[in-house]
C-alpha cells in the first residue's frame, strides 16, 4: 500500500519504520530534515510538503502533538487528496476535535479514522501498540493492513471520535493507575516497609496490573526518564476533564489525578516520566 506518514517524533519515527518493514511504500515529510533522515535511509521517499505527501496515496497517517496540529496537517492532506483516500490520525486529541476534523475531511471526499494508540515508545518500536479506532467500517478495513504493522491489539470501537473516547478512557485508567501505585509505595515507605517486597506481594493478587509491574519497577529504580512525559499525560487528562465539563459528567478521581499532574508540570517535572508523580507525593508528605 502507498502510505504517507506525517509527524516523525518519538512515536511516529518507529511507527513509520515498521510500515516500511511491513512492505509498504512510505512517503514522509517533516519540517526538519534530520527528522526524516533515518526514514529515508530505510527506504522512505521524502515529499516537498504535506500537500505533496498526500498526493497519489492510498493512506495518510498523522502522529503529532495536539488538535490544532492535526487540523493543520489534515487541511493540507485534503488539498493533496485523490478520491478514495483514507486519512488516519493516531495522535491523542479531544473526541470532539476528532469528530470535527472527520466532518471537514468528509466534505473534501476523504474518509477519516481516529486511531490513537497506547503502549508508548517501547510499544511503537516493537510494533506492539494497542490501537483503538473510530470511523466507518469501510475506512477501518482500508487502514487495517497498516495497523497490523504497528500493533497487535487493533480494535474498531465505533464511529468517528470513538477511538479518541477510548483513548481518553485509557488515560483515566493509566493516570489514576500510576498515581495509585505511587500512593501505595509512598504509604509503604512512610510505614517503614520495604517497597520492593510490597510490590512483589501485590503482583500475585488482585492489585496486579501492568502499571504495578512496569511503572512500579521504574519507581523502585527511581528511573524517571520518559517513557511517557508527564506533561503529555497532563494534556490528555485535560482532554478528559474538558469533555466531562461539556457533558456534565462527574469524575472526582480523574479530577484529583489531573490536579496532581498539573502540579507536576508547575513544579518542573513535566519533562520526566509520569511516574515522577511519586516525587511530588514524597515532597507533599515530607519524604523528599
Amino acid at each position: 500500500m502507498k502510505i504517507a506518514f506525517l509527524g516523525l517524533g518519538i512515536m511516529g519515527r518507529p511507527m513509520a519504520l515498521n510500515l516500511i518493514k511491513g512492505g509498504h511504500a512510505v512517503t514522509v515529510w517533516a519540517r526538519r530534515a534530520e527528522s526524516m533522515a533515518p526514514l529515508l535511509a530505510a527506504g522512505a521517499v521524502a515529499a516537498a510538503s504535506q500537500v505533496e505527501a498526500a498526493r497519489g496515496q492510498d493512506l495518510v497517517i498523522s502522529m503529532v502533538a495536539d488538535a490544532p496540529d492535526v487540523a493543520e496537517v489534515m487541511r493540507a492532506v485534503a488539498q493533496g487528496a485523490q478520491p478514495g483516500l483514507v486519512a488516519v490520525d493516531m495522535s491523542t486529541i479531544a473526541p470532539a476535535a476528532a469528530r470535527k476534523i472527520g466532518e471537514e475531511l468528509a466534505a473534501a471526499g476523504v474518509d477519516f479514522v481516529d486511531a490513537p494508540v497506547s503502549g508508548g515508545e517501547v510499544g511503537a518500536i516493537a510494533g506492539m501498540l494497542a490501537i483503538m479506532a473510530g470511523g466507518s467500517e469501510a475506512a477501518f478495513a482500508r487502514a487495517k493492513p497498516a495497523f497490523e504493522c504497528l500493533g497487535k491489539n487493533v480494535v474498531h470501537v465505533g464511529a468517528s471520535g470513538a477511538g479518541q473516547v477510548t483513548k481518553a478512557a485509557n488515560q483515566i485508567v493509566t493516570g489514576m493507575g500510576v498515581l495509585a501505585v505511587a500512593e501505595a509505595f509512598a504509604f509503604a515507605s512512610k510505614n517503614g516497609v520495604e517497597v520492593g517486597k510490597v510490590r512483589e506481594a501485590l503482583l500475585g493478587g488482585f492489585a496486579y496490573s501492568k502499571i504495578l509491574e512496569n511503572h512500579g519497577q521504574r519507581m523502585l529504580d527511581r528511573n524517571f526518564k520518559p517513557g511517557f512525559k508527564s506533561w503529555m499525560h497532563e494534556k490528555d487528562l485535560n482532554i478528559v476533564m474538558q469533555t466531562a465539563h461539556e457533558l456534565g459528567l462527574c469524575l472526582p478521581g480523574s479530577a484529583a489525578t489531573a490536579q496532581m499532574f498539573n502540579a507536576m508540570v508547575g513544579s518542573g517535572l513535566g519533562e520526566e516520566d509520569s511516574i515522577a508523580v511519586l516525587k511530588l507525593l514524597e515532597s507533599l508528605s515530607g519524604q523528599a
Binding site: 465539563h245 457533558l247 456534565g248 462527574c250 479530577a255 484529583a256 502540579a263 513535566g270
Partner: protein, 285 residues
C-alpha cells in the same frame, strides 16, 4: 455623559438603569430586540454604531467568545469607538481573553478595563456590587464615577486580565463555600438533626459567611430558584481550571467541586441556584 450598554440580562439591566438614573444618557444594543424593550435608552443597530455614540461602553455578557464578538467582530465596538474612549467589560471571562481583547483595542487607541463584578442580581439591583478592575489606573479613575453608580467596593487589582484573575479567585472561594455548606446541611439532616437549627447556630460563630446565610437558607427551605444560575458557576469553573492548568498550579478542592457542578448540570439544574449542590448530595444511584 453618553454611556453605552451591551448585555441587558439579569445583571446588566439594573446596572444600566442605575447609570441612567444618575443622569447619564443611555445607548444600548442587543442581539435580541426584546432584551431592550421598555428601557429609557436609544437603541443602536450594531455595536459599532453604539460605539460611535459613546465615550464609555459597558458590556456584561456570558462568554469569552461573545465578548470577543461584540468587541472585535464584524460591526464590533472596535469599528465605532473613538481613540481615547473606554470599554468597561463587566463580564466574567478568561483572563487571557481579556488581555487579548485589550491588546487589540489598544492598537486603535481604545482603552479597556476588565471589571468583573460580584454580588449577584441582588447586588446589581441594590448597587452594592464588588468591582475588581484590571487595566490602567488612570483609565479606572476616569470611569470611577460611573462605577460608583453600580457598586460600593471598587478595587484596582492590576493590569488587564488582573480583574478576571480576581473574579476567578472569587468564584473558587464562593462555590467551594457553597459545597461546604451543602455538605454540612446534608450531614446534619442525615444525622437526624434539623438543618435550619444548625445553620442558625453556625451563623453566630466562626463558620458564619454570606454563603451560609443566603445559600444555606435556600438549602434549608428547599427553594432552589436562582439567585445565581448554577450554569454560570459551572462555566466559570471551566475558566478557573483552565487558568490553573496554564499556570501549573494545583487546585485540588476546586477540581472536586467542579465535578459536583458537572453532576448538577447533568441533572438539568443549570438554571436553578447553585444551592442545588445540596441536591446533588441527595442523589441516589
Amino acid at each position: 455623559m453618553r454611556v453605552g450598554f451591551i448585555g441587558l440580562g439579569v445583571m446588566g439591566r439594573p446596572m444600566a438603569l442605575h447609570l441612567q438614573k444618575a443622569g447619564h444618557e443611555l445607548f444600548v444594543w442587543a442581539r435580541r430586540p426584546v432584551s431592550v424593550a421598555g428601557l429609557p435608552a436609544t437603541v443602536c443597530a450594531t455595536p459599532a454604531e453604539l460605539g460611535r455614540c459613546c465615550a464609555v461602553v459597558f458590556t456584561v455578557i456570558t462568554s469569552s467568545a461573545d465578548v470577543e464578538g461584540v468587541a472585535l467582530g464584524a460591526d464590533g465596538l472596535i469599528d465605532g469607538l473613538a481613540p481615547g474612549s473606554v470599554l468597561v467589560d463587566c463580564s466574567t471571562i478568561a483572563p487571557d481573553a481579556a488581555r487579548r481583547i485589550a491588546g487589540r483595542l489598544r492598537e486603535k487607541g481604545i482603552h479597556m478595563l476588565d471589571a468583573p463584578v460580584s454580588g449577584g442580581a441582588q447586588g446589581a439591583i441594590d448597587a452594592t456590587l464588588a468591582i475588581m478592575a484590571g487595566g490602567e489606573a488612570a483609565v479606572l479613575e476616569r470611569v470611577r464615577p460611573l462605577l460608583e453608580c453600580l457598586g460600593k467596593r471598587i478595587v484596582h487589582i492590576g493590569p488587564n486580565g488582573a480583574g478576571q484573575v480576581a473574579k476567578a479567585c472569587n468564584q473558587m472561594i464562593m462555590v467551594a463555600a457553597i459545597q461546604a455548606v451543602a455538605e454540612a446541611m446534608h450531614l446534619a439532616a442525615a444525622a437526624g438533626v434539623e438543618a435550619g437549627k444548625v445553620k442558625a447556630a453556625l451563623a453566630g460563630g466562626s463558620a458564619a459567611s454570606r454563603v451560609l446565610e443566603v445559600m444555606g437558607e435556600r438549602m434549608v427551605s428547599g427553594d432552589y430558584a436562582a439567585g445565581i444560575e448554577a450554569r454560570l458557576h459551572h462555566k466559570d469553573f471551566g475558566l478557573v481550571l483552565e487558568a490553573a492548568r496554564q499556570s501549573g498550579v494545583p487546585v485540588p478542592l476546586t477540581a472536586v467541586v467542579g465535578q459536583q457542578l458537572n453532576s448538577l448540570m447533568a441533572q438539568g439544574w443549570g438554571r436553578d441556584d447553585t444551592a442545588s449542590l445540596r441536591r446533588v448530595l441527595q442523589l441516589k444511584s
